[in-house]
């Protein structure tokens, strides 16, 4: 079942002195529940415009977005329930949690606001959610964000996103600020949750390697347009579009690097000029 549909969506900004800037140009895609779409592209490609439209920080200039088959409501109860269906996980776990509040508060709030569980069950639900993201409730629940590591904070942010039992998770570079060594743990957690809860995930990133492993389908954006799309392995391993190939060539790829021409050229330079003063 499709949970999210982008139907010929465009977003045009009027930039003083520069005329009209097409941030999104006729973008259409469908996300099924239990599936992950990786949205990749460089800065300015329109990835974040999509996230902004989904969170209603921006409205599209034309086109329609449907969640569970219905257009995004503009106000009132409908908007509230829309926001309950769609939750975000942000890039910076240091900035997305409030330093004044305990971890308990962060997760209680969406539970209360959306009446997810009866009030007397709130505490139990908070603990369940923390366990769900592989944190030990007793050790973190009364702490504040600064007492946790980056990876733990991102897990709290995920637990908070799950609290209102959404159908769709928009994860905007959720691991790019984390240590390489713990990225995998957080991605695996997201993959587990997605499988077990049947979540649809929109994974926004410029990192092709994680996009490939984490997504079912990859959509490549360049200057607001979709330039390539398809199953993750096909797009990343065998890119057809010139821009996708450029992205692929720029991504670190140690597997091929040690065989590559650029490297042998670089070390040739080093042997002729290296050691000079």
């Amino acid at each position: 079942m499709s949970i999210l549909e982008f139907d010929h969506v465009s977003k045009i900004y009027n930039v003083r002195g520069a005329g009209r800037m097409k941030a999104l140009d006729d973008v259409s895609f469908t996300l099924e529940s239990g599936r992950t779409i990786g949205l990749v592209g460089q800065s300015g490609s329109g990835k974040s415009t999509i996230a902004k439209i989904l969170t209603q920080l921006e409205t599209p200039t034309s086109g329609e977005i449907r969640l569970d088959g219905a257009p995004i409501p503009r106000r009132g109860r409908g908007l509230r329930s829309y926001r309950q269906q769609l939750r975000m996980v942000f890039q910076d776990p240091f900035a997305s949690l409030n330093p004044y509040h305990s971890i308990r508060y962060h997760i209680e709030r969406p539970l209360r606001l959306d009446d997810v569980v009866p009030k007397q069950q709130t505490e139990r639900e908070v603990r369940r959610l923390l366990e769900r993201v592989q944190l030990v409730p007793d050790t973190v629940i009364d702490r504040r964000p600064h007492e946790l590591s980056g990876g733990q904070r991102q897990r709290v942010a995920i637990a908070r996103a799950l609290a209102s039992r959404p159908h769709l998770l928009v994860a905007d570079e959720p691991v790019s600020m984390l240590d390489v060594s713990i990225r995998l743990g957080v991605l695996n957690l997201l993959a587990d949750l997605q499988r077990e809860e049947g979540l649809g995930v929109l994974y926004i990133t410029h990192d092709l390697a994680t996009a490939r492993h984490f997504s079912d389908e990859v959509i490549v954006l360049n200057q607001g347009r979709i330039v390539e799309r398809g199953p993750a392995d096909d797009v990343i391993l065998n890119p057809q579009n010139a821009y996708t190939r450029e992205l692929r060539a720029a991504s670190p790829d140690p597997e091929n690097w040690f065989l590559s021409k650029e490297r042998s050229d670089a070390s040739k330079d080093a042997s002729t000029t290296g050691g000079t003063r």
């Binding site: 460089q42 390489v180 060594s181 990225r183 995998l184 390697a209 490939r212 992205l247 140690p254």
Partner: protein, 274 residues
Amino acid sequence: MPEPLLTVRDFSVVYDVDPPVAAVKDVTLELQRGEILGLAGESGCGKTTLAYGVQRLLKAPAVITGGSVVFHDSSGETIDINALDAEHMRRFRWDKISMVFQGAMNALNPVATIGSQLSDVFEVHRPEMTRRQRRAEVEELLEIVKVGRDRIRSFPHELSGGMRQRVMIAMALALRPQLMVMDEPTTALDVLVQREILRQISQLRHEFGFSVIFITHDLPLLLEISDRIAIMREGEIVELQSAEGIWNDPQHEYTRRLLESFPRLTGERGVVVR
């Protein structure tokens, strides 16, 4: 013939808090002239403390508790960095060793043009230069890093992230130092810009012959830019060898674990369990 530039022996740093934290423990390494040495490890492993420590850039509660750092100047002089007094240290910094800081995109002064900020370096370290000479140097630097001399009057906010990072590299290059320490210089940039900056660092290194200590936790990237890589854990270097060796024949169990922890762009699937 390899020629050492910086010799670090039994170097230790302790954060004097309660209880004291040994951040760097008896690190010994020799950096060669013209080489790019990668320093990798997780957050808190001591890589930044080590790189700052060898330039005596740490402030309390960090205390250098032991070891020596010797800089082999291109003039043939041997400089014991721990023995320099404050004035000599001030002159030494940036002239011999410069830095590109983490989050360098935000390290520029938002209310001064990039030209005047680059010019400051010469005003402080080369007081004998005339205004005209300084301007010529700044223009040349902007050309070298491919920002272009016509941006001399630009303010930081008028430049893209990649360009600001190039300005930071220009600033680090200004006095033609023999060593540049780069702390996560491309972490905030997207892949295409990151690749351009890495190419530029590699090319400038060949052109000017400086060495680089490149700090990052991004091992895939480090494998591509470095000649040799030191893997740090809990304040110690657990493995130090050529980038190719780290990739093909890692000796330490921790190195193998780090290598297994990142998703491969083209390698086998299955790293993320789905």
